[in-house]
């Protein structure tokens, strides 16, 4: 009984120190580096599966896939040409309006090497760190949309907090009309919630949400999610708006770290 009391007191002391001071962060850093090989080891099954899928695929299928990707690349390049024309036009119009120029972002490809084993904490470990120019607060994306932001940076790896973590919130706007709100995580990979949405707000089911860029943390215009349901409970001032995140938060392996041009940049970053 005495032992459990001592352990309990020690645990509470540690928790208080960890929550309210940064004294224990060196220990966290050391332990995180020690735990990294375990993350690497636990990823072996998925790497083997990936390797197997690539190496056992019939040649005909690979050729078919290659042809499809070539076609897709052509289509995307065509669209890109159209986009650059639109971007130039947008810039001209912004200059006419004396508005601030939108910054172009550069990106760096990274791979997920570990996922938080705690279901309540939505974090991933990626294989880029301080050596690659990664910094705390840096946004990360996958092919579908905004994934989250970097919270801890180590020499060769970093930890990112996903947008669905219950402690995460990001400013968004409706793509259709620009209505602004805050999207919060719910500890569920498939659901986010909008905070303080008035019943008179012009938000509809199916509306696409993008990052609004307010707060300066996330760049403007990256897809965040789609509004899936709007419910008003009797007696409540605000409506409950549920959002389905665009990014494949629990599936994506390859991510993009976003660097702002004019800000910090990485050596291998692509533009």
């Amino acid at each position: 009984m005495r032992k459990i009391l001592i352990v309990g007191l020690l645990a509470f002391g540690l928790m208080t120190l960890d929550a309210y001071t940064t004294w224990l962060s060196p220990i966290h850093n050391v332990v995180d580096n020690l735990v990294r090989p375990f993350h690497w080891l636990s990823n072996i099954p998925s790497r083997v599966q990936e390797w197997g899928e690539i190496n056992t695929e019939p040649r005909a299928d690979i050729q078919k896939e290659n042809a499809r990707l070539t076609q897709e690349s052509l289509i995307h390049r065509g669209q890109l040409q159209r986009m650059s024309e639109l971007a130039a036009e947008n810039l001209r119009l912004r200059q006419l309006l004396n508005a601030t120029e939108l910054l172009m972002d550069s990106v760096l490809v990274t791979e997920v090497i570990g996922v938080s084993p705690n279901p309540q904490s939505h974090t991933v470990t990626i294989d880029r760190g301080r050596d690659d120019g990664v910094y705390a607060g840096q946004p990360i994306l996958d092919a579908e949309g905004l994934m989250g932001q970097i919270i801890s940076v180590y020499d060769s790896h970093s930890v990112a907090l996903l947008i669905t973590d219950s402690s995460h919130a990001l400013p968004v706007q409706v793509l259709r009309n620009g209505v602004r709100s805050i999207a919060e995580g719910t500890s569920d990979y498939n659901v986010m919630r909008l905070r303080f949405v008035s019943p008179t707000s012009d938000i509809r089911e199916g509306d696409q949400l993008v990052s609004s860029g307010l707060g300066g943390r996330f760049p403007v215009g990256y897809p965040v999610g789609t509004v899936t349901s709007i419910t008003q409970k009797p007696g409540k001032i605000f409506v409950d708006v549920e959002v389905d995140p665009s990014a494949e938060l629990d599936r994506s392996r390859h991510l993009l770290l976003v660097f702002k041009v004019g800000g910090r940049d990485a050596d291998g970053a692509l533009r």
Partner: protein, 144 residues
């Protein structure tokens, strides 16, 4: 090592909520089988490691593991004579206790915790216990 490996193997979406806490299961197993060597201190140490692994505030899992370890330690004298079913039931109860204590601690820091999956987590842990129990029993027998 195997417990850490199983704990870290990525699982997706809803499955993650059902994933048993293999570290806790290993702690309970060692305390039940060798209570004179492994006790509350051992549970607290593994808890500290779990804190580092789960990136929770240091001390969180120390308390959860120490509490579950203490219950397992107190009952260890009798439980070795009980059937697998009874031990699995104890694990079910301990996992739920651990989750509730964890949720209470999270609430101190204003972090909401979803407890809707609690019974399923208890059930999957009890099922996983059957394997963990057999594994530890075999090692224990081998070392004796």
């Amino acid at each position: 090592m195997i417990a850490v490996f199983l704990q870290l193997v990525p699982s997706t979406g809803g499955w993650l909520l059902w994933k048993p806490n293999f570290l806790l299961l290993m702690v309970i197993a060692w305390i039940l089988y060798i209570p004179n060597q492994y006790g509350i201190g051992f549970a607290a140490l593994v808890g500290l490691f779990a804190d580092a692994l789960f990136r929770t505030p240091l001390g969180h899992y120390v308390l959860v593991f120490a509490l579950c370890g203490a219950v397992a330690y107190l009952l260890s004298r009798w439980l070795t004579y009980f059937s697998m079913f009874h031990r699995a039931f104890l694990v079910f109860v301990l996992v739920i206790l651990g989750e509730l204590v964890g949720a209470a601690l999270f609430s101190i820091w204003d972090i909401p915790k979803n407890l809707s999956h609690l019974h399923i987590l208890g059930l999957t842990s009890a099922i996983a216990w059957v394997l963990v129990d057999r594994f530890v029993a075999r090692i224990h027998l081998h070392h004796r």
